[in-house]
């Protein structure tokens, strides 16, 4: 070892600041709270909410029709009994994973850049899980009996079938929702108190006052707040991995060719984070330009998220490669047929679209100029969202429509009500998200302030 060697290493250029310099505690608080308190209701926001709410009413219509007529209004027909409902369930729940990863794992790993995006990423998680959770319930056919899935004392003396992954799903998703909601709310408390103190109208003061739970910002409050956040982050961390693992077991523990595979859990988790980050980008890019938050959600944030997408996308690509290889290596006739059916069967077009969306196009993210281009990033994030939806369609439909017995093969065609249900959950998501950005601080004021503090300290030391 050359002791002088270390001196020869070229110092890496000064890392780009996470948020644009020039911010003080006050400007951060002003900027974020003004969006809620003084910006008022703009026509653009109202128009967006109108679109979301219209779609939500469409969901209302579909669900009513579903209750009256049953799941037959959807395109699910034997042999493809799992259609859009399961595809959309997996897709939505996957999207949620980015929020939890950002808020929990990156908190534990002290990744400072997360502070600007964690609030709305967590909100995205919660709303996505709400959309996801509806699908299995509606798919049951008799959603009003959903409580049969819970182990509760009942006059049938019956427990749910604990050996069924579908029951694990219930626990995984409801735990996920509860922990995400708690985590989000605990993080909101100091910000709600800020809004309470800055609000002018007494009714607004009271409402934010109720939800800020009497926060006064004392040292005891802060120490408990930090502890609670840390504990919840610890609780949420395994959920990033466990929820989509359990979702994948819905498939993997069956014997259907193309589902019965041990790679499913890791490959589902990677896919979930992949689609989640794509969705965070899809949301962050328009929001930061509409609300002029480019100095808080900087190009560096988008760049980092693009890199995460690239990394998880490569894991997903590895998953596809392994699936294909194992189908041939297994020597199993049905597995091989399933793979040939994917590559060249009636739904082959969708499979190749999936490869294009999830593997080929995202390779552009290797190029720094693409990662720095808002338009490119936005389009790629949409492409990945579509690709991940196609992945679930390929897994659910192609495996089911032709399995072991050729005499019972069939085709799956979604009906207009399938599309309407899917669009309706977008309505729920958009409505919730618009209400969120109007009434809650979409960026964590507290955490960005602490970031300003640390950035300034570093500067004064150097």
């Amino acid at each position: 070892m050359d002791p002088q060697g270390s001196k020869n290493i070229v110092a890496s250029p000064e890392p780009e600041p996470i948020i644009r310099p020039g911010h003080t505690f006050e400007t951060v608080t002003d900027k974020i709270s003004a969006i809620v308190l003084s910006r008022g209701t703009t026509p653009g926001w109202a128009f967006g909410l109108l679109i979301g709410f219209s779609l939500l009413m469409l969901l209302n219509l579909v669900v009513t029709l579903l209750m009256v007529k049953g799941v037959g209004i959807w395109g699910i027909r034997v042999p493809t009994a799992w259609g859009f409902a399961i595809v959309n369930f997996v897709w939505w729940i996957g999207i949620g994973h980015a929020g939890t990863l950002i808020s929990a794992i990156l908190l534990l790993l002290h990744q400072k850049w997360r502070t600007s995006i964690n609030r709305f990423a967590e909100a995205m998680t919660i709303f996505a899980v709400m959309c996801a959770g509806m699908f299995p319930l509606l798919h049951m056919g008799r959603p009003w009996l959903f409580f049969y899935l819970m182990p509760y004392p009942n006059p049938m003396w019956l427990w749910p079938q604990f050996r069924s992954p579908l029951v694990w799903d219930v626990f995984a998703v409801s735990t996920y929702f509860t922990v995400s909601l708690l985590f989000w709310f605990v993080g909101l408390i100091p910000d709600l108190a800020t809004l309470r103190d800055r609000a002018k109208h007494p009714a607004v003061k009271t409402i934010y006052g109720i939800f800020s739970l009497g926060w006064r910002g004392s040292a005891v409050h802060w120490s408990r707040y930090e502890m609670a956040s840390l504990l919840l982050a610890g609780l949420a961390t395994p959920l990033v991995v466990s929820v989509h693992t359990v979702v994948s077991l819905d498939f993997a523990s069956s014997l259907i060719p193309g589902w019965h595979s041990t790679i499913f859990p890791p490959y589902f988790v990677a896919g979930a984070i992949y689609s989640g980050f794509a969705m965070v980008l899809t949301l962050a890019i328009p929001i930061r330009s509409v609300y002029h938050l480019e100095d808080l959600v900087t190009d560096r944030h988008l760049d980092i998220m693009a890199k995460v997408m690239l990394a998880t996308g490569i894991i997903v690509a590895y998953g596809y490669a392994t699936e294909t290889f194992m189908a041939f290596y297994s020597g199993s006739e049905t597995e091989r047929f399933m793979m040939m059916n994917r590559l060249a069967g009636p739904y082959a077009g969708l499979y190749w679209m999936l490869i294009a969306c999830n593997i080929v196009i995202p390779q552009l993210l290797w190029i720094r100029r693409v990662r720095r281009s808002i338009a490119f990033l936005f389009v790629i994030s949409l492409v990945v969202n579509v690709g991940m939806w196609l992945e679930r369609f390929v897994i659910v439909v192609i495996s089911l429509h032709r399995d072991f017995i050729p005499s019972s093969w069939g085709m799956y065609y979604p009906t207009k009500w399938d599309w309407a249900t899917y669009a309706g959950t977008f309505g729920l998501f958009i409505t919730m998200f618009f209400l969120f950005i109007r009434f809650l601080p979409m960026i964590s004021i507290v955490e960005v302030r602490s970031l300003v503090h640390e950035t300034n300290e570093e500067k004064s030391h150097s």
Partner: protein, 216 residues
């Protein structure tokens, strides 16, 4: 800065946290209790019948054997409702002019069935067979209650699955000697569990509990 909330909110907020848990718990318990109550299960409700037939009179006071009317109980899944001819074996001789029995006579004259209202109706998704139960030492009154004391017939059990499983899990608590199956006044002995266990063994009662025993 002025206070938004009164001091009492401190107490109220704490109370509401514990209160919410308590209220939700109490609500759950109340719902469960309600689901088991006769008001909801309609257990003790007497249904309107074409003729106010009294099991107390026929099975209790007169001591007519259950099988005289419910003749297929030992051979079939269905215990059987008697044809009007069975009623008329006696009522062609006694109470021949009673106004109460006019529907019975009309049914006999016109050769139409009496339309009784079922009291113990299991849902269609449950398979139940009377014959196996009576031939394994389960008495009529075990499920149908003190039928010999019912002036008008009502359902004695909830017909909930827990009610079936109660016996299917511990048949020794209910089984009786085969000779006593049709005894409408049978009282279990003080050593029921002990003798029950012996009978379970002797009659080879299997305590079947898997789903497809009843949900075929």
């Amino acid at each position: 800065m002025a206070q938004i909330f009164h001091r009492s909110m401190n107490l109220l907020s704490r109370v509401s946290i514990y209160g919410a848990i308590l209220v939700v718990g109490a609500l759950g318990y109340a719902l469960y209790a309600l689901a088991l109550s006769p008001w909801y299960t309609e257990q003790t409700m007497v249904r309107p019948q074409p003729v106010p037939f009294s099991h107390r009179h026929h099975a209790g006071e007169l001591g007519i054997d259950c099988r005289y009317c419910h003749s297929s109980v030992e051979k079939s899944s269905f215990a059987g409702l008697p044809p009007t001819q069975t009623c008329m074996t006696c009522h062609s001789q006694i109470w021949t002019n009673a106004a109460m029995l006019e529907p019975v006579r009309a049914s006999y004259r016109d050769d139409t069935s009496l339309a009784w209202t079922r009291v113990n109706a299991l849902p269609d998704f449950v398979y139940f067979d009377h014959s196996i139960h009576v031939s394994k030492g389960i008495g009529c009154t075990t499920c149908h209650g003190k039928i010999a004391d019912m002036a008008l017939t009502y359902r004695a059990g909830t017909l909930y699955m827990s009610w079936c499983l109660e016996c299917h899990r511990q048949p020794e608590k209910y089984v009786r000697p085969k000779s006593e199956v049709f005894n409408a006044f049978y009282e279990p002995p003080s050593n029921q569990i002990e003798s029950g266990k012996k009978l379970v063994k002797e009659y080879d009662i299997q305590s079947l509990q898997h789903c497809s025993v009843c949900h075929r």
